[in-house]
Each structure stands twice: as C-alpha cells, then as structure tokens.
C-alpha cells in the first residue's frame, strides 16, 4: 500500500497531490517532504486527495501538524476531492478544525481567487521563483 506524492505550485497555493495509502508506513515520508514547505513562507497549502484510497490516524497527524504550522502564520490548509471513505475518517475524528474542505478543484480555485482579490497589500508570490526545495 504505497503512497505517491506530487507537488504543484500555482501563484496562490502549494498543492500536494496524494495517491494510494497514507498510513503508519507512508506517513513519515509525507512528513519529510512537507517539512521544507512548512518551514517556508507558504500560506496556502492544499491536499488533493482524489487518488487517496486509505488514510489512518497516522495520516491525520501529519495533516494536523501542517494545519497548526500554517495557522501560526495566518495561513490556511485545504482538502479537496476526498473519496467517501476518506471523508468519513475526517468526520469521525473531527481532527482538523478550521480547515477548508472543497468538493472539487474548481470550487477551491474559485474560493482562493476570491481570497486573493481581498488582499489589498503585499507582493504576490513570484510563480517562477522556487520557495522551497525537496530533496529527491
């Protein structure tokens, strides 16, 4: 039960696309790959779970760490495209207060675009500049 992790950057958000199983064996690798992002100045982090078929409390703990780190700097963590069995785990445990949950990527993009328009100050992130690196 492997886990595949892909990162995608848009001007507004870093998105981690997860495929497979986020469990006691694979959660440490996700934590390792998230660390440079959590240590950076990224304020919008999204998890695209369309291809995630299994999650246990080990995975929820990684998400919880991400949520808290982003919250410390006024950032936001979002989850999108959850399969029903994944959504059920989130609902049973209620482990992640304050996160946004979107039914589709389109819904999330529209929300984030509206949030961006609200900000009147600050420099938008350079879409061509790396703000974190991940060791292979």
């Amino acid at each position: 039960m492997a886990l595949d992790i892909q990162f995608k950057r848009t001007p507004a958000t870093v998105t981690a696309q997860l495929a497979g199983s986020l469990d006691t064996a694979t959660a440490p690798e996700l934590q390792r790959q998230l660390t440079p992002i959590l240590d950076s100045q990224v304020t919008d982090l999204a998890f695209d779970l369309e291809k995630l078929t299994f999650i246990s409390s080990a995975g929820l703990r990684v998400f919880s760490i991400a949520r808290k780190r982003l919250k410390e700097r006024g950032g936001q963590t979002s989850f999108v495209n959850m399969q029903p069995q994944i959504k059920e785990v989130f609902e049973i445990v209620k482990a992640l207060p304050g996160v946004s949950i979107f039914a589709s990527t389109a819904e999330m993009d529209a929300y984030l675009a509206a949030q961006q328009r609200k900000h009147t100050g600050g420099t938008p992130p350079d879409p061509n500049g790396p703000i974190f690196t991940i060791d292979a």
Partner: protein, 147 residues
C-alpha cells in the same frame, strides 16, 4: 466458506503492519465481504497493530506479534496478540470534542476510529499476552474467484 482463516506472525515494524492489512484485504475479498466492511476492518487493524508496534514494543523490530483472521459466516473476527506490558487499549477514552490538550486528543484518534468501525471489541490479558478481538458483521456473499 465458513471458518476460513489465516494467521500471520509479524515483526514489530510499520511495514509489517501494512503487510497484515493487505493480507486482510485480500482474504476478505476472497470471502466475498462487502468493500465498506473490508475498509472498516483494514482501518481497525492498521490502528490497533500500529499501537502494538509504537507503544507495546516501542518500535523494536526484534519483537513479534500475531494477527489471526477468521470468517465465522456472519462476521469477520480479527485477533491481535502481543507480549508487551499489560495494556487495555479499550480503556483509552475518545478525545473530548473540546479537548484542550491537543497531544492527548491526537492519542485517542485511533481507538475512536476503531470504535466507530467495528461491531464488537474485546480485550483480555491471557498467559502474558494482550489479546484484542475485533469483529465486523458481514452478510454472507458468494466469494469472488481467487486472483
């Protein structure tokens, strides 16, 4: 087939936990168990076996634990045995909704998921072993052909 079963002796590592979870999935599919029940069983085994690895054995890979799974016709029974210090995981309370100590709340997520997913849970300390039995009702279905 009534009373089909398998037993695994596992080393105390996260990878071995997932080996047991995958074997459970395969067994349940062969027995014709519904996918929703299979997922509930897989999640519960992952949570409780992880507890054995992380807490009972402090991630010592030289330690072993046993997973036994049986189809009793109307339910699947999963038994977990370890020789760690006496510990009843069913005594861990579900995290309170407004738990202020977040670390303590996180510690209860696993058992909360298991309580929600399983129909019966039973713990006993027996011959120096922690024995946890979990069962999930499953309607008898025609088993699918083996892969």
């Amino acid at each position: 087939m009534d009373n089909a079963c398998f037993i695994l002796e596992l080393q105390s590592t996260p990878e071995e936990v997932m080996r047991a979870v995958e074997r459970l999935q395969q067994f349940c599919r062969e027995q014709g168990v519904a996918e929703k029940a299979i997922h509930a069983l897989m999640l519960s085994l992952e949570e409780m076996a992880s507890n054995v690895v992380n807490h009972a054995y402090q991630r010592d890979p030289s330690q072993c634990f046993r997973v036994s799974v049986q189809n009793r016709g109307d339910r699947i029974v999963v038994e977990l045995r370890d020789r760690g210090p006496a510990f009843d995981p069913l005594q861990v309370p579900d995290p309170a909704l407004e738990e202020e100590d977040e670390d303590r709340a996180e510690g209860g997520w696993g058992i909360q998921l298991v309580r929600h997913s399983m129909d019966d849970l039973h713990y006993v300390r027996e011959d120096g072993e922690n024995v946890l039995r979990m069962s999930k009702h499953s309607k008898p279905q025609t088993p699918s052909p083996g892969l």
